[in-house]
Structures are given as structure tokens and as C-alpha cells.
């Protein structure tokens, strides 16, 4: 609030007793009732961080004040506090809305984290960048609080024209005076100190207003950036533990059907009861499908539709003969006499009817007319009436319950799978992928230019960086490989065999139960679609395949990366050249520098660039240009050798025995790859490979092959570099802004509280005069 009184006094020094008109008629003697309040104001302890208990107490007071203010009873101070409270409440409402709107757990959480960091930045920025440094240097706390005679907490230097520095004790003033270097032993020293303290506060508060807008959003964003990583980790861990616990409890029968399914079934039951008299038609079936529990399957609604239709058709009855319609149709054949026919005349076989109408009505039909007559009669006899909904409502209800149980089970299985290998951010697989990428790129110590080059596909930046790491004692390389293998080991543990077995067992149990229930209620086709021994596209298979494919895809890429690092090291040390020579000699091929070089390059190129189709085509495309023998040599070098070179590089003591899991995994991966991808028949064609292929040793489809091949390393590295580049760029820009704003604020703050020439002169004059 502006100090109106001061302003008015400044402009209008004349103060007159009030005109009689204003008090006329009230006749109140105010002389004894209006008196100054006792001086109860005091300074509050100067703190950078306020106490939470005080905050809660103030909040309670502010909430009570809303009630008072809504009745029109509030003062400026209370309205000011109400504004702060409303701002926080509005922001909280917004955070809550965005929390609900965002589908991802991390994004949801970050809405509240953003809310918290924003208000924390608003409160902290002036304290750490202005208030604390100024207090340390000048002794003046520009946000010094006091409590007034009415118990209201206010800032001492809020209004520079409302001088409250009298509240300072002599000790305080001496302390401030000493820091502000106000001359000792001058008359009116306290006056000088108070003036300088006020001046410092005005300067500090102005700087606060000027810097806050630049600093708060950036500070808040940086805080969110820092908080995101640990929060993500916590969410990941909570999801892993909770999803496993919930699935186990469900499978053990300890969890009841969830509310959503129960509510859906209630809605269904209500609909069945309300529409019992309606005929089952397509529209009705569509409506029923919408009310059935969701089983998270794209194909199920169509299958359910077919099954309900089949069920309804089985209950359809023959339509009663509509004589008028029949007569009207028949009259088109032989117009005159069909109008006389009765229902009795039209019973029996067609020949009987024809004889009857010939005898009774003299109707004689030619061959064409006979045929048309037969067709019309046949059609009339085939007309059926679909059943009322009440006829099949019990079956539908049972279907709903079976699907409800399936939906419930799927929810737990899907949560279990998605927490580990779900295709969205914040899941274990996504976080592990980010960890591997960040570790790799950061270890390469690339500058912005190299990062950009790698982003654009120039992998030589990466190979030369790895080659540099392998120079000398390979410490850096070993450290990197050990770290990456420890991440992979953890990945193996969480998404390996145990995970797949758990999914398979759960899917089996849930689908088996649904299958039995559906079979019992006459929905055999649906039951078959959910679980069947010899069908590929059942729900059970889809669940299992999804988990396997997701887990395998990332795992293959991780191992492909390890192979690449190992290959670069082998190449640098010359081990690879020796192995190539041996392989060429083994195949009886000519060993030349050119051929060795070509094979070495092909090995690197395969790991860097090859796609599943390249393997199918035996790397014969212009990209690789390998003949059959060379193809075999490359495959054996990459996937046939031992893991000895990788094992040698591992700092086993650093990560204990866990690394053995990753080594075993690498061995298994290479063996699987050799068996299922690298060792394909030579006559395999791309066309054939697009279909599910059965060879003598294995059966696999394109998706499995693709997952086993993993991501080409040039793409992997480009994406990893991009991820690091983006976050580094953002951090560079806004970290830079934050540093610049902070530095500028601190430097400007250093000039505050200093004695001006006039102040120096005034002190000198005071000394002389005193």
C-alpha cells in the first residue's frame, strides 16, 4: 500500500479540523475513545529460511481471513496475503489438472515438482542472491520482518517512506554501523546508520524486482532438471516393486476384482435389464461391446461381436407367415387370383400348394412363374425373428464376468510387463537405455562439434575416441566397458528368464481361467482366441511375445554395442587382423592386405550399419559386397568367437560377480544370433524371409529376427549423441543465463550500501560541528 498519509501531508501541509458537515448529526464524543495503541511492535529474528511451523500457523490465519474478507472485513495486509495464497491455490489447481491430464507417472509427478520449485525459487532467489550477501557485507537484512501492534507480520523496509528503523536496538544499529563503516564518535551516528540502512534496503529491493523475473523461471527449470533423475529412479523402483507384488497377490487370489471392472459390470447389468425387450440387432450388439470390460486387445471387440451374433442367431425363431406381404409378392407373378388365397392354402410342400391352388382357384402357372413362386415361398419360410435381449442376457452377463476377470488379470500382467519393458518413458527399459547411452557418450568426452558430427552419422568420431581410450593401459576403456556390462547385467536380471517365466505363468493362469469360463458359457470361438495350444495369435501368445520382443530388442542392441567396443579394441591392438588372417587361411583363401582390410571393415560395418534384411541377403548388397565365404568369416568373427577379450577388460572387482551374468548373456546372445540369423540357408530370399520361416533347426519370424539383430550402431550412436547434445545444449544456455544473472546480481549488490560523496561530506560536517 502506498503511504497515502505521507503523500497527502507532503502536498497539503495544512491540516484543519474536519468540517462540521461530516460529523453533523452523529453527536459522538470521540475525545476519550480514540487513542494511540500501545507500542507492541518488535523485530522478528532474522532468518534466511522460515520455520515450517510458522508457515503452517500463518497459512491457517490466511485461510480464516478469507472468510472474513468475503464478508468485507479485511485490511490491506490481509488482502495482500490473500493474493499470495490465491496464487498458490490457483497454481496448485493447475498442477492437479495437469497431473490428471498427463498419462506418464514422471510427467504427473513433475507437475507438482514444477509447482514446488517455482515457488521455492521465488522465495529463495532474493534470499540467496541479495538478502544473504547484503546482510553479510552490510549487516542490513533487507527482508527484516517485524510484527506490528496488531500482530501482523510485515517487512521492515517495505515502504521506504514509512520509517520503522526505530525498532532496531542500539546493538543492532552499532553492528550495522560498523559494517557500513559509519564514522565513530559523531553526533547523530544512529541517524546516519538508519539512513544508510534504508538506502541499502531500497537498493536491494529494487535489484530483487529487476532480477527475479530473469532468475525464477530458469532457477525453477534447472531445479526440475536436477530433480527429474532421482524422481524418475524412485518412480521406476516403486513401479517395479508394486507391479510385482500386485501380480503375485492377484495370482494367489488375494486381490479382489478392481472397482472399474465391478462398475462396468453393473452398468452392463443395468443396460441388459433396461433393454430386455429389445431385439438383438447390430446396433444393440455394438452398444453391448462398449459396455463390456476392456481386455486391452485390438481384435477382441470384433470377435466378441461375431460370438454374440452367433449366439443370437442360434436363438432366432421362424417368422410367422405374413399373408399380406406374401400375397403382394405373388400378385406380381399372376396378378388376378392370389388375393383370394388363405394361410391354409399356403401350407405344405410347394407341389401340394401348386395342386391345391390349381384345383381350388384354377391358377395354372408356367415354368417361369412356377420358379418365381417357389422362390417367394422359400424366402417366406426362411424369414426369422432375432431374439429379444432377455433371451441371451444371462449369456451376455456371464460373458461380461468372464471378460471382467480377464481384464482384471491383464491389468496386473500389463502393469508388470510395462514397468519393466513398457514402450514409454519412465519405465525400467527406457531408463536403462538412457543410462547406457549417457554413459557411453559422456565417456567419449566429445565436444559440441563432435557430438553434432556423431548425430549426423559420422561414426569415426566415436571409433577414434574409443581407439584413444584403448591406448596404453586401457583403464578408461575398461572402466567404460565394466560400467556398461554392469548396466546390462542388471538388465538381464530384471528382464531375463525369470521375468519371461513370470509373464508366461501369469498369462497362462489368467487366460486358462478365462478360456474355461467362456467355454462353459458357449463362447467357444472367443475362448479359442484367448488360449489355444496350436494357434499363433491368441491373447496368451500376444502377451508373452510382447514381453519377449521388448526385452530382446534392447538386450540385442546393448550386446551389439559391447561387440562393437570389443571389435574396435581388437582392431587397434592387431588381434582382429590376426584372427582375420587365420580365418582366411582356414577357408583356403588368399591372404592379402586388401582382403584383410576388407574383412576388418566389413566386421565394423556389419555392427554399425546392418539391418535384419542385410543378414537375409547375406550382406551381398552394394553396401557390403561380401561373397558366401567372406560372409561366413565375418559372422564367425563376430558371433562365433569367445568372450575372452571382453572378460579381460572387465574390472571384475569393481562390480563383483554380477558381471558374469552379463558375460553369460553375451555368450548366449551370440550363440542365438549365430544359430538363428547368421547361419541361414544360402538360398534364402528376401521374399521368403518376410514370411514366417521354418528351417531345419529353428522357427522364427521377421519381428524376432529384427529384435535379435538389435539397433544398427550408427543409429544407436546418433540417437544417443542427440540425447546428450540436446540436454547439454539446454543446460549450457540456461545454466549460462543463470550464472550470468547470479553474477550480475552479486556484483551489483557489491555496490550497495556504500557511502556517497554527500554522505561522506555530511559525516565530516557532523564531526566538525559536533
Amino acid at each position: 500500500m502506498t503511504n497515502l498519509i505521507n503523500g497527502i501531508l507532503t502536498n497539503n501541509p495544512e491540516i484543519k479540523p474536519v468540517a462540521s458537515q461530516q460529523t453533523k448529526g452523529l453527536n459522538i464524543d470521540t475525545s476519550g475513545s480514540v487513542k494511540p495503541l500501545k507500542d507492541r511492535g518488535r523485530l522478528l529474528p532474522s532468518r534466511i529460511i522460515g520455520s515450517p511451523a510458522e508457515y503452517v500457523k500463518d497459512l491457517k490465519k490466511d485461510i480464516v481471513n478469507i472468510g472474513k474478507a468475503s464478508k468485507g472485513k479485511a485490511n490491506d495486509h490481509e488482502l495482500g496475503r490473500l493474493n499470495d495464497l490465491a496464487m498458490k491455490a490457483g497454481s496448485l489447481a493447475l498442477a492437479a489438472y495437469l497431473f490428471i491430464k498427463n498419462p506418464l507417472k514422471l510427467s504427473k509427478t513433475m507437475e507438482f515438482v514444477g509447482f514446488g520449485t517455482f515457488f521455492a525459487s521465488m522465495a529463495l532467489w532474493p534470499k540467496i542472491s541479495i538478502q544473504a550477501p547484503l546482510r553479510a557485507r552490510t549487516g542490513v537484512d533487507i527482508h527484516q520482518k517485524y510484527i506490528d501492534s496488531q500482530g501482523r507480520k510485515k517487512m521492515l523496509f517495505q515502504d521506504p517512506q514509512y520509517d520503522l528503523t526505530d525498532m532496531y536496538s542500539k546493538e543492532d544499529l552499532n553492528r550495522i554501523g560498523k559494517k557500513l563503516k559509519v564514522s565513530e564518535n559523531i553526533p547523530d551516528r544512529e541517524k546516519f546508520i538508519k539512513q544508510r540502512a534504508k538506502k541499502t534496503a531500497v537498493q536491494g529491493n529494487t535489484l530483487w524486482m529487476l532480477s527475479a523475473g530473469l532468475a525464477n523461471p530458469v532457477m525453477s527449470a534447472l531445479a526440475c532438471n536436477v530433480a527429474e533423475k532421482p524422481i524418475n529412479k524412485i518412480i521406476e523402483q516403486v513401479s517395479l516393486v508394486n507391479s510385482e507384488k500386485a501380480l503375485n497377490e492377484f495370482l494367489n487370489g488375494n486381490l479382489k476384482t478392481n472397482k472399474q471392472v465391478i462398475n462396468t459390470l453393473k452398468e452392463l447389468e443395468k443396460y441388459l435389464a433396461n433393454n430386455a425387450d429389445k431385439t438383438v440387432d447390430n446396433r444393440l450388439i455394438e452398444q453391448i461391446i462398449k459396455l463390456l470390460p476392456d481386455t486391452n486387445s485390438v481384435t477382441m471387440p470384433e470377435e466378441i461381436k461375431k460370438s454374440i451374433k452367433k449366439l443370437a442367431d442360434a436363438q432366432a425363431t421362424k417368422a410367422p407367415l405374413n399373408l399380406d406381404v406374401l400375397k403382394s409378392k405373388l400378385s406380381k407373378i399372376f396378378p388376378d387370383k392370389f388375393s383370394l388365397l388363405t394361410e391354409e392354402d399356403l401350407t405344405g410342400s410347394v407341389n401340394d400348394i401348386l395342386n391345391r391352388i390349381k384345383e381350388k382357384y384354377g391358377i395354372v402357372l408356367n415354368n417361369k412363374q412356377k420358379n418365381d413362386f417357389k422362390k417367394i415361398l422359400k424366402q417366406a419360410n426362411q424369414d426369422t425373428v432375432q431374439p429379444k435381449l432377455s433371451v441371451i442376457s444371462e449369456n451376455i452377463k456371464n460373458l461380461g464376468e468372464s471378460l471382467g476377470s480377464l481384464s482384471n488379470g491383464r491389468k496386473y500382467i500389463d502393469n508388470y510387463i510395462n514397468a519393466r519393458v513398457g514402450d514409454k518413458s519412465g519405465t525400467y527399459i527406457a531408463n536403462q537405455w538412457t543410462k547406457v547411452c549417457n554413459k557411453l557418450i559422456k565417456s567419449l568426452k566429445l565436444n559440441e562439434k563432435d557430438l553434432k558430427a556423431l548425430m549426423n552419422g559420422d561414426v569415426t568420431v566415436m571409433t577414434s575416441a574409443i581407439e584413444n581410450m584403448t591406448a596404453g593401459d586401457c583403464k578408461k576403456y575398461n572402466k567404460l566397458l565394466t560400467k556398461l556390462m554392469s548396466y546390462i547385467s542388471d538388465y538381464e536380471q530384471k528382464t531375463g528368464k525369470e521375468f519371461i517365466t513370470a509373464v508366461e505363468n501369469s498369462a497362462k493362469q489368467v487366460c486358462e481361467s478365462a478360456k474355461t469360463a467362456l467355454n462353459d458359457n458357449g463362447f467357444e470361438t472367443l475362448a479359442h482366441n484367448i488360449k489355444s495350444e496350436n494357434a499363433a495369435g491368441t491373447m496368451e501368445n500376444l502377451i508373452n511375445n510382447y514381453a519377449k520382443e521388448r526385452a530382446l530388442g534392447a538386450k540385442s542392441s546393448f550386446y551389439r554395442l559391447i561387440q562393437l567396443l570389443d571389435l574396435i579394441k581388437q582392431d587397434k591392438s592387431g588381434v582382429l587382423t590376426d584372427r582375420v588372417k587365420q580365418a582366411l587361411e582356414g577357408k583356403g583363401k588368399k591372404v592379402s592386405t586388401e582382403s584383410v582390410h576388407r574383412i576388418v571393415n566389413a566386421c565394423k560395418k556389419v555392427l554399425m550399419e546392418s539391418t535384419p534384411t542385410d543378414y537375409v541377403e547375406k550382406l551381398t548388397t552394394s553396401k557390403f559386397k561380401l561373397d558366401a565365404d567372406e560372409y561366413k568369416i565375418v559372422m564367425e568373427l563376430l558371433f562365433g568367437g569367445s568372450e575372452a577379450t571382453v572378460k579381460e577388460a572387465l574390472e571384475t572387482t569393481a562390480s563383483g560377480g554380477n558381471l558374469q551374468r552379463a558375460l553369460d548373456g553375451l555368450k548366449e546372445y551370440k550363440s542365438e544370433f549365430m544359430k538363428k540369423v547368421a547361419n541361414w540357408q544360402s538360398d534364402m530370399t528376401p521374399e521368403l524371409s518376410r514370411r514366417t520361416v521354418t528351417t531345419a533347426t529353428h522357427s522364427m519370424n521377421g519381428v524376432e529376427r529384427s529384435n535379435l539383430a538389435g539397433k544398427p550402431m550408427n543409429e544407436f550412436l546418433s540417437e544417443a549423441a542427440e540425447q546428450v547434445f540436446n540436454s547439454r545444449k539446454w543446460l549450457k544456455i540456461f545454466g549460462g543465463i543463470m550464472i550470468a544473472v547470479t553474477a550480475a546480481t552479486l556484483i551489483i549488490g557489491l555496490t550497495f550500501g556504500r557511502k556517497s560523496k554527500a554522505e561522506k561530506q555530511a559525516e565530516e560536517e557532523s564531526k566538525i560541528n559536533g
Binding site: N11, P17, Q22, S70, Y97, P160
Partner: protein, 351 residues
């Protein structure tokens, strides 16, 4: 003892009803604090714009200069006026946080960063619009019903103290609102010069409030006006942040991903070649976003959107209800004024 503060009866009748903009012009027209109600009536749109422009210019130039120097003439008005600096700088910085780095990204990362950045920037704009406009939902009805304009401005003449670098140019002007303080509304500005019409403003308000004692109108309605001002400020503040949240939520809807503010992209992706087409496209996206906000495909989101919008509407309506109806008509009567407003047994604050 109640004191009359000097201005009463001194309003310069020669002040024309035109807007004084800039110090020189103000010096010629205003030799004391002056209510700008007549000017506002004549220039309802341009006067607030001019006042805001003046305040904004000072907030970025004159006041920081004074403040950083630690001038003894710096005051709380200047500090509050400088409050627009963090608002505007903060908004710009908020937009920058989500947009500045995206031009360095490529492909998908750039596209998704731009989409989010665009929505965040719109969110900042809609926050400001929602917060500012929504206050009018409560302030305007009060003005229409009782003639009380909580934002009625006055120009304040300040005689500053001489300083080291300024010893002569000591007169400055500030734009205040007569009702900016509920503890000290600037009542004097509402009295006419002399004679029968001295109480006219209060008499008019009293009449609209259903009170007919024109002679003591000021005494009767001042407390009621103060009460209405408190209620208006309370509810407009509470509702404004909810409307601001509604604004941001609308900006966060999916339809706003399908628009661009880059002319080249607008032309290529949306065939927008002139501003009119852009306004049309923006209008369409805004409407779709509003629909998505209250009728989202996701049930939880739909409910949340409706609850948020509902609370904003509810608080606004409650504000209208509280400010437009008087539930204690007796409060302004002579007897009540005598007994409750000045109670001999209670302590009174004297500033």
C-alpha cells in the same frame, strides 16, 4: 479527533477533461491530487492504456534508476510498479525456457520440443489474459449496480526532497487508484467542491444502495463501499488465479499442437498466407481446445477440466452475489454508526 486532510474543496475546476500524458502536460493541468473519473468516462479505453504505458515505462527506466541509487524519494508505489518487471521478464523467460533451445535440436526432438514450447508460451499468454480479464467479471457488475469503480484512477502530485543529483526538478506524478487501499481509501477525492452537490458521489451510491438520507450519505455509505471493495478484491483475486489456471489448461490441449506461429511453417503446413487466415485458424484451434478441455475423451481429464472451470465460475458468481446484494442494510443507519462504528469501549488505531 477526526481531521480533514487539506485537499477538500480545492479541486481545480479549470482542469479540462482530457488526458494528461507526460510530466509537462501533467504539470500544466494538475496542481494537486486529482481524480480522473471524468477523463475515464470520456476516454474509457485510451486512458487506462496511457496510464499503464506510463507506469510500464517508469517501471523499466525511472524507478529502477532511483531504486538502485537508493534514493530517499523512492517509495512503495515505485516498488509495486516495478512488480510488472518480474511479471513480464518472468513470462518472457518462461517462454524462452521451453523454446530457446529447441532450434538447436533436430528432427523429432525439435518437433516435440516446439509443440511443447508453443503450448507453454500460449499458456503464459492465456495465464495473463485469464487473470486480467476475469477480474472484470466481478468489478464491472459492481460498477454497473452501485457506481463504485474499484479501479477509478487519480493522479498524484509528489513534491520530492532535493538530492545530490537533483535539486530543482522535484515534482513528479504517480497514477494511483482511489480505492487501492481499503484501510485508507482516498475519500476526499470523491467530494465535490462546495454546496449542495458536495456529497453527490456518495448520495448517488447511497441511492443505488437503497438509502435515501442524502445529507449524511457519505457517512452512511463509506463503510459499505469499503466492504464492497474488500469483497470485490477478495473474490476477483481468488477467481483470477482460477481463471488463469483455466487459461493455461486450455493452452495445454492437443489442438494447439496443430498450429504454428512461424510464418514460413504456417504457409507450408497450414496454407496460411495472411493474418486474417491465421486469426481464423487460431480461433478454430482455440474453440477445439476449449471443447477438449471440458469434454475430453479421457473421463478423468474431462471431470478435472469441468471441476476447474466450475470452480472458477462458482467463485466468480459467489463474488457477484456477495458484492451485488446487501445483506445488512441497517449497518449504515445513524444508530448503528453510532454504536458499532465508533465504540467508546474499544481501542482504535490511529496512524
Amino acid at each position: 479527533m477526526v481531521y480533514q486532510l487539506g485537499l477538500q474543496g480545492k479541486i481545480n475546476k479549470n482542469i479540462p477533461n482530457t488526458i494528461a500524458f507526460g510530466k509537462k502536460e501533467a504539470q500544466q493541468k494538475y496542481d494537486k491530487d486529482t481524480l480522473l473519473d471524468k477523463e475515464l468516462k470520456k476516454h474509457p479505453i485510451t486512458l487506462p492504456i496511457k496510464i499503464q504505458t506510463n507506469k510500464l515505462a517508469n517501471a523499466f527506466t525511472k524507478y529502477p534508476k532511483k531504486g538502485l541509487k537508493g534514493s530517499k524519494n523512492a517509495n512503495f508505489y515505485e516498488f509495486l510498479t516495478m512488480g510488472t518487471v518480474p511479471y513480464l521478464a518472468g513470462s518472457a523467460m518462461m517462454m524462452a525456457v521451453f523454446n530457446l533451445a529447441s532450434k538447436f535440436y533436430k528432427n523429432e526432438a525439435m518437433s516435440s520440443a516446439l509443440k511443447l514450447g508453443q503450448k507453454m508460451a500460449l499458456g503464459v499468454v492465456f495465464y495473463g489474459i485469464g487473470k486480467t480479464l476475469s477480474k472484470k467479471f466481478i468489478e464491472k457488475p459492481l460498477k454497473w449496480r452501485y457506481g463504485i469503480d474499484v479501479n477509478v484512477p487519480y493522479i498524484k502530485k509528489i513534491d520530492e526532497l532535493p538530492e545530490e543529483d537533483n535539486k530543482n526538478n522535484l515534482v513528479t506524478y504517480e497514477y494511483h487508484k482511489a480505492y487501492e487501499s481499503v484501510d485508507f481509501p482516498y475519500w476526499n477525492l470523491f467530494y465535490n467542491d462546495k454546496g449542495e452537490n458536495r456529497n453527490k458521489y456518495f448520495a448517488d451510491v447511497a441511492k443505488k444502495m437503497g438509502l435515501s438520507d442524502a445529507e449524511h450519505a457519505d457517512q452512511k455509505v463509506k463503510h459499505k463501499i469499503r466492504e464492497k471493495i474488500v469483497q470485490t478484491k477478495t473474490f476477483s483475486t481468488l477467481s483470477s488465479y482460477l481463471w488463469a489456471a483455466v487459461g493455461v489448461s486450455i493452452a495445454m490441449q492437443k489442438p494447439f499442437e496443430d498450429i504454428s506461429f512461424i510464418p514460413r511453417k504456417l504457409k507450408l503446413d497450414y496454407g496460411v498466407t495472411n493474418p486474417l487466415k491465421f486469426v481464423k485458424l487460431f480461433g478454430e484451434k482455440f474453440w477445439e481446445s476449449c471443447k477438449s478441455f471440458v469434454n475430453n475423451n479421457d473421463k478423468k481429464c474431462k471431470i478435472a477440466g469441468r471441476v476447474l472451470l466450475g470452480s472458477a465460475i462458482l467463485v466468480t458468481l459467489l463474488g457477484n452475489f456477495k458484492t451485488l446484494f446487501d445483506f445488512n442494510k441497517d449497518r449504515g443507519t445513524k444508530s448503528q454508526a453510532a454504536t458499532s462504528l465508533i465504540d467508546k469501549n474499544k481501542e482504535k488505531v490511529v496512524c
